[in-house]
């Protein structure tokens, strides 16, 4: 079904009763060309681009939970590409270009709002580093600018920039193409178009094992039966370590808890995404009026999906340093998710030691913004067998080779990334 003003009007008159369901319950075939393990944004985008760009539609997506119930719907919806290293920047900037037209392409309103991403610097040294990053971004073809204090105050009038602040702000890196995208619409939009093209999407159906013989993938096991397939990709975010173990693959990844928060809704107040760097707190206001906030990880290994109170205090303290008026608002919702953070804090995308089995993991809390680009490139890899340039640097074997992509220069400590 094509969504349009006319279809909306027709159903408004008819009592909105005959909207077709986005997600169908397909019958399971015994064999697929490609199996996508994990029906999050990345997995569904992979399935969508396989169908739309490569005409591969004999594809199944297996989701252990429900569509739009995992990390795709647990993030703070921010999209941006302000990364220093070429590999990180390239993939995320490709995503930013795809986000711009994706609502039209998917015929689904993803509410992409490029309201500008503002990264605050708290010292001259930090601002100098941001200048380096802005220059790298410009060389890569993206927009970026550095604002001094007066310009920053004009751009974000609500921001508290007093010199008596605990961590005074002295400037910012601004990427105006950055912004927010409605996260669960991304999962639904990709799922809908993939299903329309013939992809089978199974919810509440985890992959429980891999059939591997002589180093080659032959199929996958599910509670609803065994499937044979030529290729599969594991794209399961926080569950990566456990799912990869089913194929006897050790991942240089650790699961770590990340929290996010939503305040009660108020009138439009903040038209940008702002990131506070003395500690970490990122904030934006939704179209509905709520402020969405996130911060650093909880700082230790966890698969509990239960946040630490210390982090709540920490994030909110930084938020009120930026915007003191927030102290009057109450939190309405608060949740956490398991982020899969790799040893260099960057993603792992590409081949595994098992022929036919690909991996997409290690996105930590940076995965949402890259969703369409990862799907686009992973689909190209699966369909053509050739490694796309944009994901080649993210190979699993880079750790042994020493070719790490550590944007922050932190080292092999995922809980600090």
């Amino acid at each position: 079904m094509h969504y349009s003003g006319l279809s909306l009007l027709r159903r408004a008159v008819c009592g909105s009763e005959d909207w077709a369901s986005i997600l169908t319950e397909p019958g399971m075939a015994r064999s697929y060309d490609i199996v996508v393990v994990g029906g999050g944004g990345h997995g569904l985008a992979t399935a969508y681009y396989l169908a739309s760009k490569h005409h591969v539609t004999n594809v199944a997506v297996f989701e252990a939970g429900w569509i739009g119930g995992g990390n795709t719907a647990r993030n703070t919806t921010i999209v941006r590409s302000d990364y220093l290293l070429n590999a990180s920047f390239g993939l995320k900037n490709h995503a930013l270009q795809l986000w711009a037209d994706l609502s039209q392409e998917l015929n689904f309103n993803l509410m992409y709002a490029p309201r500008g991403y503002i990264d605050l610097a708290h010292s001259d040294g930090e601002l100098e580093h941001f200048t380096l990053r802005a220059n790298a971004m410009r060389l890569g073809g993206a927009d970026a600018s550095i604002l001094g204090l007066p310009d920053l105050q004009n751009r974000v009038p609500q921001l508290s920039v007093g010199a008596d602040a605990r961590y005074p702000v002295c400037g910012a890196l601004v990427q105006e193409a950055g912004g927010v995208v409605r996260h669960d619409a991304v999962a639904w939009g990709f799922a809908r178009k993939a299903i329309e093209a013939g992809v089978h999407v199974f919810q509440n159906c985890p992959v429980t094992g891999f059939d591997i013989r002589e180093g080659r993938l032959r199929g996958v096991q599910t509670p609803r039966g065994n499937i044979t397939c030529d290729q599969a990709v594991i794209s399961v975010a926080g569950a990566s370590v456990d799912v990869a173990k089913l194929a006897s693959i050790d991942l240089p990844v650790m699961p770590i808890n990340v929290q996010a928060f939503v305040t009660e809704p108020v009138k439009p107040t903040l038209d940008a995404v702002v990131n506070y760097n003395a500690g970490l707190c990122y904030i934006s206001q939704t179209t509905k009026g709520e402020f969405v906030l996130g911060g650093a990880t909880d700082g230790y290994v966890s698969t509990a999906r239960r946040g630490s109170f210390a982090r709540i205090e920490d994030v909110l303290a930084r938020a009120t340093q930026m915007f003191p008026f927030l102290s009057r608002l109450r939190l309405m919702r608060h949740w956490s998710g398991t982020a899969d953070i790799a040893m260099d804090g960057n993603a792992i995308v590409g081949d595994t030691p098992i022929k036919g089995l690909k991996i997409n993991t290690g996105w930590g809390y940076a995965g949402f913004k890259a969703t369409p680009a990862v799907g686009h490139e992973m689909a190209a890899l699966l369909a053509t067998g050739r490694m796309p340039d944009l994901i080649a640097p993210f190979a699993l074997d880079r750790f042994e080779a020493g070719a790490l992509i550590d944007d922050a220069g932190i080292g092999p400590y995922p809980w600090l990334h």
Partner: protein, 83 residues
């Protein structure tokens, strides 16, 4: 919120500690270990089970590194493991 059972100071709030990650088994430093040994020791730290032996530094207490065993699913601390 973790209530960390410091063997020197008793149960204390997690904000008093710095996390040091899972306890690592480093390769021998006698010239006999390979790059692959170090690669495995540095990069593969995810636990085989949900129980993980970890280092914590008690900044606001005894100022010592301690080793505790914790269930990463439930956050329960179990019997103290290792030296």
């Amino acid at each position: 919120m973790l209530l960390i059972p410091c063997p020197n100071c008793g149960p204390r709030d997690e904000t008093e500690f710095t996390y040091g990650g899972p306890v690592s088994q480093w390769p021998e430093m006698n010239g006999g270990s390979t790059t692959k040994d170090w690669h495995r020791a540095v990069h593969f730290k995810s636990s085989k089970s949900t129980l993980v032996s970890e280092l914590w530094y008690h900044d606001a207490g005894c100022e010592r590194w301690i080793v505790l065993c914790r269930d990463q699913n439930s956050h329960d601390f179990t019997a103290r493991a290792g030296p």
